[in-house]
């Protein structure tokens, strides 16, 4: 081995750490974002190449096989459809955490029974966080892919059972820190973490997925950072801290957007079925309109804000929405999109779906940017969104979503809501928006209805 190799390895790690930070910095704007991916890739390749020079490696056979196999699995995972990105992300949290948990386990058995107390503490943190992230993320992926029932499953004393499990895992960890020779306890600690991951996700419904995915992201990052402590790898600590910070920021964003305190989210009290008086709602009159009428109102408007929700993605209506956007823009109508932070199944998901449909990103406004525009807006067109437009969140202190920040579509001159029927959304909360005098209900499938409006608009142009 050439002398000085260890310095070369360290330098590749330092360069990789710098590139990782730059990667995230360049991600701040869509203009430089792709450069960020490039920086990340170069950093990763450098670090792997540096590691392969490590003199302790005696056999490259398994490393080579595993790298190739990983790449073969990775390519299809990188090419899933954009609607499937949330479940892919959940799956990759599981893979990342699996790697961390396996490495931690191997390290434990290599070192036991002589594990210094500090090392044992971070190792326990690593495998407990890693373990619960593996199964928790697999559960989340299963729910998002709709392999598992999306309905939250709750039972009495759920929080108690979950906290007790976590407490037992921590107690075992403490015992191992004090007496690492009690190796027989180690599998129990990991096993409980794995079961806890499942139990943690069981009570969570589809609507809370953006928060949960962010939280699991944070856990995956923190477990990787803990692994960095165990292996004394600064690069891993940096990458884990960045991932943990990103997941944490996104979780806080998501819980704010749903008006839940962070502790409320942490303790899995979310996803509970709301048993408000939704059933007792009397049949109030609503105004409805046909595609022809909707098309006429839209073409007479100067300023239109489209508010998409997950319903739009489920109906696969984004390409029809793009046609509508094109036609209206051609007629000189100013069309923008107002996007709530929790629209979609993960943070930013709606933006990706609209970008895929070729809608320019400078027309995609987040809630704070767009809310001031509604009073000057002629038409707010709500497609497949419900609770995030519910004015009860502003005015009705008794409403379960009271205090949740919403898109103020009701302040627009005319509100049009495309909806299958008058059934309330997943939260089971009635939406007073639908009964307003300036609201028109457009009943039907989002894709079909937007398609009819598009036909009207283009047909009308042809005849006139």
């Amino acid at each position: 081995m050439i002398p000085g190799t260890e310095y070369v390895i360290e330098i590749t790690y330092i360069v990789a750490a710098v590139l990782f930070i730059l990667a995230l910095k360049w991600l701040s704007s869509p203009v430089t974002a792709r450069r960020g991916v490039w920086a990340g890739e170069v950093g990763m390749v450098l670090a792997i190449a540096g590691t392969l020079l490590y003199r302790g490696i005696v056999d490259y056979k398994w490393i080579a096989i595993a790298l190739v196999l990983g790449a073969i699995i990775g390519v299809p995972l990188g090419n899933v459809g954009m609607t499937a990105v949330p479940q892919r992300t959940a799956l990759s949290h599981a893979f990342g955490a699996l790697c961390v948990t396996l490495v931690g386990t191997a390290e434990f058995y290599l070192r036991a029974p002589n594990v210094p107390p500090f090392l044992m503490s971070v190792l326990s943190l690593e495998v407990i966080l890693g373990g619960l992230t593996v199964t928790g993320s697999l559960m989340a992926a299963g729910k998002l892919q709709e392999i598992l029932p999306q309905r939250p499953i709750t039972y009495k004393g759920q929080n108690f059972v979950n906290l007790a499990m976590l407490a037992i895992a921590v107690a075992i960890a403490v015992r191992l820190v004090l007496h690492p020779e009690a190796m027989v306890l180690y599998p129990f600690m990991v096993g409980i973490a794995l079961v806890f991951g499942v139990m943690m996700i069981v009570p969570i419904g589809g609507a809370d997925m953006p928060t949960v995915i962010s939280l699991l992201n944070s856990y995956a990052g923190l477990s990787a950072a803990a692994m960095g402590f165990v292996l004394n790898s600064k690069l891993l600590i940096v990458a884990g801290a960045l991932d943990g910070a990103s997941g944490f920021i996104l979780s806080v964003n998501m819980s704010k957007a749903m008006n839940r305190s962070f502790t409320n989210v942490l303790f899995g009290a979310f996803g509970q079925v709301q048993t408000s008086g939704a059933a007792a709602v009397e049949a109030r009159p609503v105004h409805s309109a046909t595609p022809e009428e909707a098309a006429a109102i839209l073409s007479a408007a100067n300023k239109v804000v489209i508010v998409p929700g997950y319903g739009m993605a489920v109906a696969q209506a984004q390409h029809k929405v793009r046609e509508l956007y094109d036609l209206l823009t051609k007629k000189g109508v100013d069309v923008k999109f107002g996007i709530h932070p929790v629209a979609g199944r993960m943070p930013g998901h709606m933006n990706v779906l609209l970008a895929e449909a070729d809608i320019p990103y400078d027309k995609l406004l987040d809630m704070e940017e767009v809310n001031g525009d509604f009073p000057q807006t002629d038409v707010a067109l709500v497609i497949g969104a419900n609770d995030v437009t519910n004015p009860a969140a502003r005015s009705d202190a008794g409403s379960p979503i009271y205090g949740m920040p919403i898109l103020d579509v009701d302040k627009a001159r005319t509100v049009m809501v495309i909806k299958r029927s008058m059934n309330p959304g997943f939260a089971g909360i009635d939406n007073p928006l639908y009964y307003l005098d300036n609201t028109l209900m457009l009943f039907g499938d989002a894709k079909a209805f937007v398609g009819s409006i598009v036909r009207e608009l283009s047909g009308g142009g042809g005849h006139g």
Binding site: F118, L236, D243, N351
Partner: protein
Amino acid sequence: MVTADLFNSLYVFILAAFIGFEVIRRVSPLLHTPLMSLTNALDAIAVVGAIILAGEHKSTLATVLGTIAIVAATSNAVGGFIITDRMLKMFKSSRTQKP
């Protein structure tokens, strides 16, 4: 010795977390999905630990676990970078749109 390593590591962790908060706070909500898939790909750097484990051959268990860990992390890195780039490619401004 071990304690010195610990404190070094803690410094690195705290500083990296601060940088992470400052840098990621500036990422527009527009790009939060690519942000998550990119940090996920970067997290796959755990592969360096797995490579050493699988290559050192200190025990059969370590080699087996290390090998599986390499597969898991590599698939994350490859898949994560591919999908992040695919997503970012789609984001076009109305000024620069259409070649």
